[in-house]
């Protein structure tokens, strides 16, 4: 063995001579490296070509892009052959904003823009400071003013007229904004040395995680009036929001607990040695490190919640998916639900894909 390690550096195995066209070379190494591989490539290409051609014919070549208002006859003529994208310009206001007063729909539109700006700013690493919390409070307050109105000359719009994309974003964002602190408290509770607090936290997390969100939402919509003193009732949207916060809290708690476990013991001991109290120890020393550890899984949990807000369809709250489903009840357009679902899927996809890309870039840089 020593003979080998003591040998002077041998010239590296001569690299394969780079001959021929680089495109052909790439094809050869990546698509036709062996005979079975080549056959596989050809089969895949055939399937892909068939799929793409079929989609282009349906989605572009034979598609109807625009029709006169409320007239679906052109679409019905190509039914089965081509897509009816004309339903989107016809219905997009309803799908995006639900039954919000038509002339006031710039307000939910502006709210959506504010949400997107808020998400963008929160993703910048350089802005991860305490001021970010104030930014969140300010933006959410501004959005509430825009949506409700009733002040600054804005007319009041009650919650049951809200709908579409703003409702989806509200459910997801407020769910996280309140679920996150709740999750931190429960995660700390689960790691606490006090037996009563620990068992309460475990009970909460396991009960919530053990049942599907659908049944929690049913509980919020059907059972809530039973739980409250008679005569006391709160809005359906708020009830669903509470269910989503409780749900988010339990899942986020488990992610944060993972982060707490990753903080070395020495950090706790050093904080104790400095004489910090329990809360100051966690706020100044432990939590900043713990949360930094779990940012990628946290973003993945956010993606899951964003998608899960669509379940409020089952209890009849007008989020983006419900407005889409309602838009196609219109008998004239009933047969073109696939196009509407594709449109809504694209909106969800853009949000989730951006988040998952972001999570991946964080994962790639977090090691440094």
């Amino acid at each position: 063995m020593t003979a080998i390690t003591d040998m002077p550096d041998l010239p590296r195995a001569a690299r394969r001579p780079q001959i021929g066209n680089p495109v052909l070379r790439w094809l050869r190494t990546n698509l036709f490296s062996s005979i079975p591989n080549g056959i596989l490539t050809i089969i895949l290409l055939a399937i892909l070509a068939k799929g793409v051609i079929g989609f282009v014919q349906w989605g572009i070549a034979h598609a109807v892009w625009l029709t006169p208002a409320n007239d679906s006859s052109a679409c019905k003529a190509v039914r089965g052959l081509g897509a009816c994208w004309a339903i989107i310009p016809e219905k997009y206001r309803f799908i995006l904003f639900g039954t919000y007063p038509f002339d006031e729909q710039w307000r939910p539109a502006l709210s959506v823009a504010l949400f997107i700006a808020l998400f963008y700013l929160s993703s910048r690493r350089t802005l991860w400071r305490r001021e970010l919390a104030f930014l969140w409070i300010g933006a959410l307050a501004l959005i509430s003013v825009l949506m409700w109105g009733g002040v600054f000359g804005l007319s009041f719009v009650s919650q049951d007229r809200w709908g579409g994309l703003p409702v989806t974003l509200i459910l997801a964002t407020f769910g996280l904004a309140f679920g996150f602190p709740l999750g931190i408290l429960v995660a700390l509770g689960r790691r606490s040395k006090l037996p009563a607090i620990r068992s309460l936290s475990v009970l909460y997390v396991e009960l919530i995680r053990g049942v599907p969100l659908v049944s929690l939402l049913f509980m919020a919509s059907v059972m809530f009036p039973l739980f409250m003193p008679s005569g006391f009732n709160i809005d359906k949207l708020l009830r669903a929001q509470i269910a989503i916060i409780l749900f988010a809290g339990a899942y986020l708690a488990e992610v944060i607990r993972g982060g707490l476990q990753a903080v070395p013991r020495g950090q706790y001991e050093a904080a104790d040695a400095l004489g910090l109290s329990y809360w100051r120890k966690h706020r100044l020393v432990v939590l900043p490190q713990a949360i930094r550890h779990v940012i990628p899984p946290l973003v993945n949990t956010f993606i899951a919640f964003f998608k899960d807000t669509s379940l409020v369809l089952i209890i009849g709250i007008f989020d983006l998916l419900t407005t889409a489903k309602t838009a196609i009840i219109d008998p004239a357009w009933q047969q073109f639900s696939v196009e509407v679902y594709i449109f809504v899927a694209a909106i969800y996809f853009v949000f989730c894909f951006a988040m998952s890309r972001y999570s991946r870039s964080l994962e790639a840089t977090s090691g440094r």
Binding site: L40, T41, L44, V214, P229
Partner: protein, 395 residues
């Protein structure tokens, strides 16, 4: 929160035994538990008052009453005159039917796609990545509605698509040829399962023998004997018939064969494709977690590729794969409750109807919780057992 002071505090009386930190801890616990108890008591007393105001008696007596709810698609015999209890059992069976088959299919599809993502073939790995990315980033409920709309858009029974002989796809669902299973067929299937278990045991014994003296022993004669010849012999001895029942179009509907209703079929497709995207990622990261050196070492020993995968790579990858897989299985089971959106009567859907008809909210919700906690515990128990079996044997 324990005392930071290394010297034990002086112990005089009961409270003297507690240092300042313990007292603080006690205070917090009493406070938090007190608040929790107060909330529960508040909600409980409200509920009791409200229920008595609505003349609803608490308790599970309502389960014996006639359910009078229709359940279109069920494994077990059911009619609306049966009791709520039986309707509930039928709902549980429907949930299990979609969850168990969904878990099996999603595992197979997810593994195939996860392996495809690592393929040397660029096109295959890109297509697999596209599949994962698209399916993961669209809400499951939206996908479910999409599949259901596609099912409803299929041609009527008379003009059904026939992708294969005897297979019909129409707005009545998927109709497949089936083999009627009775008692004699069950005997043969039982022999098959027993033969398979015996073969696994013999396989382990053979490997143990090889570990001892290094001589490889072929396992295939046992496989042939126990899994193929034995059930075939039983089948011949008992004279079991395996006639295939072909579905036929009669009037507006199909007779014979196995029918998967559109609701069930849409739910199964949505759950399987959605979950398989997550499983694919788990499988990919599991395989990637096996260090390159393990592949190199196995090839250097001159092992065949299949043997290398089975004995070297897979056991190591499984250790990374199994724990997250457990939570995917649990997710699939919980997600099956979305069935209520398209009218497939799973346990949540049946419970919801029961709730609307009887108003027995607490009982119904606790039944749902009991069912899902039992299923979750069952899956976790099985996966923990499996995980313990494959975990690294530390020496």
């Amino acid at each position: 929160m324990t005392s930071d002071d290394p010297r034990p505090p002086p112990r005089h009386s009961f409270f003297g035994a507690l240092g300042p930190n313990e007292l603080k801890g006690l205070f917090w616990q009493v406070l938090v538990v007190g608040i929790a108890v107060a909330i529960v008591v508040f909600l409980w007393s409200n509920t009791v008052t409200n229920l008595s105001a609505r003349r609803i008696t608490t308790g599970f007596a309502f389960l014996g009453r006639e359910a009078s709810m229709p359940i279109a698609d069920s494994l077990l015999a059911y009619n609306p005159r049966d009791s709520y209890l039986w309707a509930f059992v039928v709902g549980v069976a429907n949930t299990l039917r979609v969850a168990v088959i969904g878990i099996v299919l999603a595992t197979i599809l997810g593994t195939l796609i996860g392996v495809s993502r690592l393929s040397a073939n660029w096109l295959l790995s890109r297509l697999a990545a596209l599949y994962v990315e698209v399916l993961r980033d669209i809400p499951l409920l939206l996908q479910l509605l999409f599949w259901y709309v596609l099912m409803q858009g299929l041609p009527a029974a008379r003009a059904a698509w026939r992708p294969l002989d005897g297979v019909f796809l129409s707005n009545r669902g998927l109709i497949l040829p089936a083999i009627p299973i009775g008692m004699p067929q069950l005997w043969v299937l039982g022999t098959f399962v027993l033969g398979f278990i015996a073969f696994l045991a013999i396989g382990r014994w053979l490997v143990a023998q090889q570990m001892r003296d290094g001589k490889p022993r072929p396992a295939w004669p046992f496989a042939l004997g126990l899994i193929v010849v034995l059930p075939a012999a039983v089948s011949l001895l008992l004279g079991v018939s395996w006639t295939i029942e072909w579905p036929q179009l009669r009037g507006f509907n199909f007779v014979g064969g196995l029918t998967l209703a559109p609701e069930y079929f849409a739910l199964l497709i949505a759950l399987v494709t959605y979950t398989s995207a997550f499983i694919a990622e788990i499988v990919r990261s599991g395989i990637q977690s096996v260090p390159r050196g393990q592949w190199d070492a196995a090839s250097a020993l001159g092992l065949r590729r299949s043997f290398m995968l089975r004995q070297i790579i897979l056991p190591q990858a499984l250790r990374v794969i199994v724990p997250p897989m457990t939570s995917q299985y649990l997710n699939l089971t919980k997600n099956s409750s979305l069935a209520v959106a398209i009218g497939y009567q799973d346990v949540v859907s049946v419970a919801n109807t029961t709730l609307n008809q009887t108003g027995q909210a607490i009982e119904v919700i606790s039944l749902i919780m009991a069912v899902f906690l039992t299923i979750s515990l069952g899956i976790s128990f099985f996966m923990n057992w499996f995980n313990a079996r494959i975990a690294l044997a530390e020496r």
